[in-house]
């Protein structure tokens, strides 16, 4: 029976892994094809079933005058906007979450849980509802079609995620640790930065990952709020579409766009196991 259980366990894991990895393998294979290879039938193995080419990849780096889309500038724009907005969102969201977790706010019937829900309710609204107010606001302050304007908008969109995740994480940190830090001579700021924050690193990593993912994949606000001066990667990739859908270039663009997220996930994975609070109270 244990052997059957082990077999079933690994069978399910392998089956699910195939579902997850198969699209990436398909994209990698398609990115090295050309028009004839893509339309000639289902082929997957290079050199055996089709002749690989770099046409799909070269289009991403050629200028527009040569039939390409040159994603280098938008790629770095996306990295800058996403990581800057995520960092600021985590910084401000963590402070807000700590206050909501540790202090009691009350204004009439509005309490801590209501304030926390107010933060996350910003994500419930459809993006189209916010598009016009953001457009008018950025136009008024002269930040339309600019990186700074996009960063401001992304902070508004990403900070609720940071607050939502960190409030739950801070609630799991025993309050006795804060009290002990205060008695040991820390003022409230020192207690937060020296004691609570180091034990909340896994939560910040998770919140940071969510912020980076949601910021990176955003297309709608990047499309509405930018025109010519600034372009982000998702908007630039859309420019690949024409009368003939270039699946080979789109596959290459998809792989290029997902690469930073995979790298970030591998880098931060080791930090997720730190901050074990099981030994804080005995």
């Amino acid at each position: 029976m244990p052997k059957l259980y082990t077999f079933l366990k690994y069978f399910c894991v392998i089956l699910w892994s195939c579902f997850v990895i198969a699209p990436f393998l398909w994209a990698i294979s398609t990115s090295f094809k050309d028009f004839n290879s893509v339309t000639g039938g289902a082929t997957y193995i290079p050199w055996l079933q089709f002749e690989p080419t770099l046409d799909g990849w070269s289009v991403l780096f050629k200028p527009g005058s040569q039939g390409g889309i040159n994603i280098v500038g938008p790629y770095f724009n996306s990295i800058f906007v996403t990581f800057t907005a995520s960092f600021i969102s985590i910084a401000l969201g963590t402070l807000a979450a700590y206050a909501l977790s540790r202090y009691t706010f009350k204004a009439g019937f509005v309490q801590n849980n209501d304030i926390t829900f107010f933060f996350i309710s910003q994500r419930i609204m459809p993006p189209v509802v916010l598009s016009i107010p953001f457009f008018i606001f950025l136009s008024t302050i002269g930040l339309l079609d600019s990186l700074a304007g996009l960063i401001l908008v992304y902070i508004v969109l990403l900070m609720p995620i940071a607050v939502w995740i960190m409030v739950d994480f801070f609630n799991r940190v025993p309050k006795e640790i804060d009290e002990t830090a205060l008695i040991d001579g820390c003022n409230p700021f020192q207690a937060f930065f020296k004691v609570v924050l180091p034990n909340s690193i896994p939560g910040m990593i998770v919140a940071g990952l969510f912020c980076i993912i949601f910021g990176w994949i955003d297309f709608f606000f990047a499309f509405i709020l930018t025109f010519t001066n600034v372009q982000l990667l998702p908007v630039k990739i859309v420019a690949l579409n024409s009368s003939i859908t270039p699946w080979w270039s789109l596959s290459a663009a998809a792989l290029v766009s997902v690469a930073p997220l995979i790298i970030v996930a591998f880098v931060v994975e080791r930090f997720l196991s730190k901050g074990n609070l099981s030994g804080a109270l005995k």
Partner: protein, 95 residues
């Protein structure tokens, strides 16, 4: 449950009672973690409530053992000594 309140080298008060809610509130109020609804605490002629928690010369040991998980044993012991800005040589000796 035993609670020990040490006032000076000559005087200390020992509470010996069944576990209840009153003693944690009393000790936390003396430590400054809770603010009383009324009344005040006088110690050596000074209003104790006017002194913030981190400036009071108070140590409190919880019934359950509490440590800082992100620090090792030596750093846990040195932490309050460093916060009180005590002599590093003294800290090393005590640690």
């Amino acid at each position: 449950m035993i609670s020990l309140l040490i006032l000076s080298q000559e005087k200390c008060i020992l509470f010996l009672e069944e576990p209840s809610l009153e003693k944690p509130h009393l000790l936390k109020t003396i430590a400054g973690l809770l603010t009383p609804d009324s009344g005040n605490i006088q110690f050596e002629g000074k209003d104790f409530l006017a002194i913030p928690v981190w400036e009071r010369n108070v140590a409190m040991v919880y019934q359950q053992f509490i440590n800082y998980p992100h620090l090792n044993v030596k750093q846990n012991i040195e932490f309050p000594l460093k916060q009180r800005k005590m002599d590093p040589k003294f800290n090393r000796k005590r640690g």
